[in-house]
Amino acid sequence: MHAGQLDALVDAADGGDGVDFDGLRAGRDGDAFQFRTPHTERADLSEAEFREVAESNPWYVSNWFYWTREVGPEAGAADDEDRHTAIRDGSNARRAFLRWAERADDHGVPERYEALADGVTREWGQLCVTATVGDHGERRYHLRHVADADADADLSSLDVYAAPHEARSIVTYDEKGRYRPLKTAPTLRDGWAFPDLDGRSLVETVDVVYPATIPNWYREREGCLDVTHWDETAERQTGIYDIVDELDEEAVEWIAESCCVDSQCLKRRMWDADEETELDTDRGDGVFPCREPCSLVVAAARKWTTLEREESRTYEFELTPSEKEQVEEIIDAVAEGRTDEIREADVYEGANRYRARFLRAKQFDDEGNLSGTPTGDE
């Protein structure tokens, strides 16, 4: 705690409704000040006595100062109707996230300060946020990949960044150098750290890594996450995406199963086929919700809509039982993104490259037709 914080507390106790925050209550009754925490209760204080008591409870004072003066006070919604039609996420979402980071809702000030001295760590997707407290109650935040959570506190093995927007260089490509069109795909690369962020820049950095996840998570906590289900999203599309509303419910289920499960996306899917019809596919365990089908899913759905328009036909193939299984294993390996993990010489794996090449050599004709059977015009 520093002198400025104490002065600010005296001013706040002196005016209006006084102070009531995180267990600290301070106010004035006539000429006398009161100071209360869960462990201290003092009334009838002169200003000098009030200052003395506050000084012996520095954590409460600096905690109050940090949250109400540095992070900023909680902004109330204009009225109830406003809350549900148009919620002001902005600074409230930032504040809620920072309080979540230090588990402020679960612990009182002394426990929290003790924990913050060692660092309180929480996970947000593949991010690991550690909150700590400085001498005057100022919070500092450290951000790194969960895979580096246990890396030594020393940063020598990590690329160190300071400014939020530098995170773009981390999120654009995966570790194989491929572009990541979906920011919440579980492919965030590791090996970096933002070791010293203030609250605002922490939130900005998280917003670069997982855009808009904080406001949506905040709305969900406040009980007013607006979910736009598949039917409404599909209905809204125009231009080349106009057709996606043709997909039937079963296909929508396949979409969720293809794109939205934890292995593909860390958001927790809250949208369904429509308001009444829940999809069976697992929603995922993510901290932050997905409130409507994303553009990637809508774009993929456009392709599936055109594919689903095709009538099925009967083809005749001759495959050995092992070859049939091999085809299944290949599809599975591609769908799970496992092809890279299959060892060069592991011919026991159906999706092994030599196995696949053998199958192709044996089963494809010169035009690339399976079993020499033409696809047909349709």
């Binding site: 148009a86 600074s91 927007h165 490509y173 572009y179 917003d207 855009p211 808009a212 125009t238």
Partner: protein, 291 residues
């Protein structure tokens, strides 16, 4: 508090598509003209549907990184941002003159000043010229040079050709280049025949596109005969039919573009102080974004 939100198309396949938008946002962030500078995309995140939620300010200036008025600026962006009561007549535009309209975003209750696209702003002309300067490395380039402004063509949107003509006319009026020509990918006069349209030996070719991608990196260089295969690259300048073609790539990657974004917002009422001049000064001489 006032925020700037730059909205752009983005891509699921190519990170170059959003790169200039990020670069210009960074330039503007650095001059501290706004409390917040955010970006939102049709194909990337945050989506247009959610970008306003990431903004704390009540007053938001939205500038579309698009070349022309049309489907995206008139339908998609206002719909996705949930700009209540939007109707394209709010812009009262002839296809080139959209300036701004003030609406409320029903999702967040913010006051949104929705600006016309960067591509039709008059200062875009300066960016085209600056692009010619940066690609030739000559701040006085003009005499002895021809300049071609290249657009997509009318196939998709007639306003896109209007923007090309508009800037070509304005550059012509400057009397700086010996010749100025508007060329298209999909219609006459075609960029394929660039050499036929110029007498000057040296010709700067600037595509009026927001980002480098398939068209500016593959189609146009191959169509003009700069290279048989874009993957092998091409020289700047490259010899084509007795002309030296200085191919500049998408104008949107020029760092001076940040200035156009600022001017759009300033005209819609944003208080940007001297940021316009600062950006003009800073972006001069700095390497073009994306190079």
């Amino acid at each position: 508090m006032q925020a700037l939100v730059i909205v752009a198309h983005g891509s699921h396949l190519n990170p170059d598509s959003s790169a200039p938008t990020y670069d210009h946002a960074d330039t503007i962030r650095d001059v501290d003209a706004f409390d917040e500078v955010k970006t939102g995309f049709w194909k990337e995140e945050p989506s247009l549907r959610e970008v306003l939620r990431t903004v704390e300010s009540d007053e938001v200036f939205v500038v579309p990184m698009f070349i022309s008025e049309g489907y995206f600026t008139e339908q998609v962006i206002p719909r996705e941002l949930r700009l209540d009561g939007w109707d394209v007549s709010e812009w009262d535009s002839d296809g080139l003159s959209a300036s701004h309209a003030t609406l409320t975003a029903s999702d967040t209750n913010q006051r949104v000043h929705y600006c016309g696209p960067v591509g039709t702003h008059e200062s875009m002309t300066d960016v085209l010229v600056r692009r010619a300067e940066s690609v030739t490395g000559d701040p006085t380039v003009g005499t002895g040079f021809g300049l071609a402004v290249v657009g997509h063509g009318t196939e998709r949107n007639e306003n896109s050709a209007k923007a090309i003509e508009y800037h070509a006319d304005r550059i012509r009026e400057m009397d700086r280049f010996d010749e100025v020509q508007a060329l298209y990918m999909d219609e006459e006069p075609e960029v394929d025949d660039v050499a036929d349209y110029f007498e000057s030996e040296d010709v700067v070719v600037v595509p009026l596109f927001i980002a480098d991608g398939f068209h500016t990196q593959e189609d146009i260089p191959e169509d003009m005969g700069l290279t048989d295969d874009y993957r092998t690259g091409y020289d700047v300048p490259a010899e084509v039919d007795g002309h030296r073609i200085w191919y500049a790539g998408a104008v949107g990657t020029e760092s001076l573009m940040a200035d156009v974004v600022l001017e759009r917002a300033a005209e819609a009422g944003a208080d940007v102080g001297d940021a316009v001049e600062v950006v003009r000064k800073r972006t001069r001489g700095s390497p073009a974004a994306g190079d």
